[in-house]
Symmetry: C2
Subunit: 197 residues, 2 copies
DNA sequence: ATCTCCATGTAACTCGTTACATGATTTT
DNA sequence: AAAATCATGTAACGAGTTACATGGAGAT
């Protein structure tokens, strides 16, 4: 009994959860881990946000819960998507997209970086490159593993959809690293020529 | 007198605003337009979010306001960054970055797209491509204009920082379009061979 | 004994969007 | 005359984060 009125618009997180339980039934805890890592690539949520949405999906008849043995003071519940949930998810995929480009703190820092010393900016960019290289390594390992399992062969499967988003993640990281390297070269060049004290 | 307690952490939006008024003094209204278009590329805010932050920047002594002639029932105020604001902005550029990768609704839709008909998914991707091509055209026009003005020549200016973020925008759009085309080709191939029904 | 993982929930708060409210100037 | 633009604010709500709360199972 977290909330009762079910007339308010369904949040995007609900569809992220539906997309995950459409693959296999999951507990709230498992969802909270998945919304850090695999899908976490492009959608994140904490467990405090997930549990209320799960209860709402249940009340909407979009998901059903079964109790499974587990630890803890409260029952462990595994959620499965229902026929109505599949319909809702299908409708959402086709729904018109809202074009709000996201927020990117690194770009904002670079936009403001002319107020700082060149060495500070270069440090910022080097840190960013290291973190993106790390992320890229994770993604490429995952891509190789997917390709070895033959996931890339049939574009109609759920695993292929995973693989497709993974490829976009790799493209994003590579593009960002290339841009960071370009920017560092430019800052190095305009600093080492040392026109002004 | 919107809020009084000034001990809570300063939101990222405050630094986005500082980065803008560090270039030239702006009114709240001008900021709200800039946080749609040029910087809007990677940070957005509505005027209802901006005005309270401006008042807070003033109370912090990070920005100063001067009244200028203008229309409307309330005085029009143009904000300039102060020395303390510049220090705060400089410190923020160098501060450790929080790595929370953003949310991307298109990727979430693709992740869920295996539940929908192939034609629906292809429609989604075609729409996305059209919107990204449009955005790319805007960015490339802006880049050409910046290069014609010689902005790309000196990496120490504020205009170069603009230009650098613009280049990242172009890279992002191109990468995304390439990925969309790859995905559409893959879906076309696995559909036109028509193995089933 | 302590730590980590599994497991679910609530409370308090900040961030962000939409809607309400007012009113002058300029353009169509 | 109507619409768009300039200009600033508040209110209500939804989205998202952090912190509080509980407790069993297994590993160190």
């Amino acid at each position: 009994m977290t909330d009762v009125g079910d007339d308010s618009p369904v949040p995007t997180l609900a569809f992220a959860i539906l997309a995950l339980i459409a693959r296999e039934p999951l507990t709230g805890y498992q969802l909270s881990r998945q919304l850090r890592d695999p899908i976490g690539l492009f959608w994140q949520a904490r467990h405090s946000q997930i549990y209320p949405v799960l209860n709402r999906l249940e009340r909407l008849g979009w998901a059903t819960a079964e109790e499974v043995p587990g630890p803890g003071p409260r029952p462990t519940r595994r959620f499965s998507i229902g026929a109505a949930g599949m319909d809702a998810l299908r409708a959402w995929v086709a729904a018109p997209q809202s074009r709000r480009s996201g927020r990117d703190e690194l770009l904002l820092r670079v936009y403001a970086s002319w107020v700082a010393d060149r060495s500070v900016t270069l440090g910022l960019l080097r840190d960013a490159e290291a973190r993106h290289r790390e992320q890229l390594a994770t993604y490429t390992a995952r891509r190789r593993s997917a390709e070895d399992r033959g996931v890339a062969d049939d574009a109609t499967t759920a695993e292929f959809a995973d693989y497709a988003t993974l490829r976009r993640g790799i493209g994003f990281e590579r593009g960002r690293i290339a841009w960071l390297r370009w920017l560092m070269r430019r800052l190095d060049a305009d600093g080492s020529s040392d026109d002004e004290g």
